[in-house]
């Protein structure tokens, strides 16, 4: 039976985990590879690295992290952050990433999605969508794409954009609600469902997870096929296994391999 996925996401800057990860005793809580190995052992269904390295000179650090992770973890790995060219994608895939997520570069130039999917296959091209609700309360819900960490509006309708990038070759959508990100108030269910129901490819719900029921809601009510979370796992509030057992108890098909 096909299972839904639970995906921990690590923010990585200059080759180090931002804020550290403290859910098990790691020798080095800032080493993304150690965190990846621990999540692999804990039963994560996939792993996601978001590279937030700002300076151009340090952009290569993520490649070394990906290479060392792929040597130690035999699980799927998605890497995003600052992916702007076909060469960026090639370098990440050759280092051992299975999927690469494209964000701003796709907003600026949709053809980049087509070019990437043509070169590497749509199975490894994820388009990351950062969306914010723009309709007033009471009006029919409408969301727009925002860039620059949710600060810059683009005027692009999120649902239309999702359909467009999928038609161009995106094999998966990583959908983050910028209204909910960091709030621990749960996923934006209406947004998740609007996009998941509009596209034929898998949608990963992201942004706002504060408890395990939120994970259930993202799948059951938001119609996502995977859920992504960061802090509830990194700081030991819940283990991956607890999350999956909770979701299984709520009736969702989960992979609980020993």
């Amino acid at each position: 039976m096909f299972k839904v996925r639970v995906i921990p996401c690590l923010d990585v800057k200059d080759g180090r985990v931002v804020k550290g990860v403290n859910f098990v005793d790691l020798r080095d809580a800032g080493d993304p590879v150690e965190a990846a190995i621990a999540y692999d052992a804990a039963g994560a269904d996939e792993l996601c690295f978001l590279d937030i390295t700002a300076s151009h000179e340090n952009r290569g650090t993520i490649l070394d992290v990906v290479r060392r992770t792929a040597e130690a973890c035999f699980m799927p790995l998605t890497v995003g952050g600052g992916v702007r060219t076909v060469d960026d994608i090639r370098a990440l895939l050759q280092s051992g990433a299975d999927k690469v997520s494209i964000n701003t570069a796709a907003v600026n130039n949709r053809q980049f999605v087509a070019e990437a999917a043509e070169k590497f296959g749509n199975q490894c091209i994820v388009v990351a969508i950062d969306a914010k609700r723009v309709s007033p309360d009471g009006a029919p819900a409408r969301w727009e794409i925002f860039t620059h960490g949710g600060r810059k509006p683009t005027g692009i309708d999120a649902v239309e954009y999702a359909k467009e990038v999928v038609a161009l070759g995106a094999g998966e959508i990583l959908l983050t609600s910028m209204d909910r990100d960091g709030t621990r108030a749960g996923f934006d269910i209406a947004l998740t469902r609007a996009i998941a129901d509009a596209v034929p490819v898998p949608v990963i719900a992201s942004g706002g997870v504060g408890n395990l029921d939120h994970l259930v809601g993202g799948i059951r009510d938001g119609h996502a096929t995977a859920v992504l979370a960061a802090s509830i796992f990194h700081f030991g509030e819940h283990t991956i296994r607890e999350a999956k057992q909770h979701m299984a108890a709520a009736g969702l098909p989960m992979r609980l391999d020993p």
Binding site: M1, F2, K3, V4, R5, D40, D45, R67, A70, E71, A72, F74, M75, P76, L93, Q94, S95, G96, A97, D98, F120, G121, N122, Q123, C124, G171, E172, P200, V201, P202, V203, H223, T225, A226, R255, D257, P258
Partner: protein
């Protein structure tokens, strides 16, 4: 004893090589793992692995672009009967032809075609991306000791097309995704998995270890 993983420009083979090295070490069947694009190295190998990601036609073109590789595969696997494992599109290439974007000839080792997955339930997403349990249709050394069925271990899939084998005898395992989807095929000394054993944690390492000790 050498295992040759064929490098024909289709994706990263580093993690596949690492998974084979680890399975070799842990299973006590330690043997050199060689990533190569040299047909002579394939002829000299005791086992051959053909990975593949992307589109069928692209992979076929990539394989053809390595001079002498298809001939080396035919000789080593088909005539000498050395164990072979195709992975994902590497497995699909065992079919007679693929129908992704365009009709392309495969190696023709397994009668059948590679065609789009069409789940009966329209809410199921394509690609089939994620973890699924295997339904074994017949025993096979590659599945030795691996729990299958609804309570079995999971394998990691990411694909939109699958190999529709013409003969049920060539089907070793399927998964259910709105209908049966081909997961493992085998014919003589050549076998293939639609899923990625190198990304399938426990099931994957166990299957690779089984391949390394397979003596058909």
């Amino acid at each position: 004893m050498t295992v040759a993983i064929i490098d024909y420009g289709s994706g990263n083979l580093h993690s596949a090589a690492k998974a084979f090295e680890r399975a070799a070490r842990e299973s006590g069947h330690d043997q050199p793992i060689l990533v190569t694009r040299d047909p002579e190295a394939v002829r000299a190998a005791d086992r051959v692995v053909l990975p593949g990601v992307g589109a069928f036609a692209d992979c076929r073109r990539g394989l053809d672009a390595v001079t002498g590789m298809v001939e080396a595969l035919e000789e080593t696997v088909r005539r000498k009967g050395r164990p072979f494992l195709g992975i994902c599109v590497g497995m699909q290439l065992m079919a007679e032809r693929g129908r992704e974007y365009e009709v392309t000839d495969g190696l023709g080792w397994i009668p059948g075609e590679v065609d789009r997955i069409t789940p009966a339930d329209p809410s199921l997403k394509i690609p089939h991306m994620g973890w699924n349990t295997l339904n074994a249709l017949q025993p096979h050394p590659l599945l030795d000791g691996i729990p299958t069925g609804p309570d079995g271990l999971h394998a990691y899939f990411v694909h939109s097309y699958h190999l529709k084998a013409a003969n049920r005898a060539d089907l070793v395992a399927e998964v259910d995704y709105g209908g049966p989807v081909t997961a493992i095929v085998a014919h003589g000394t050549a076998a293939g998995t639609q899923f990625h054993p190198e990304k399938s944690q426990r099931l994957g390492l166990a299957l690779i270890a089984n391949f390394l000790r397979w003596a058909p």
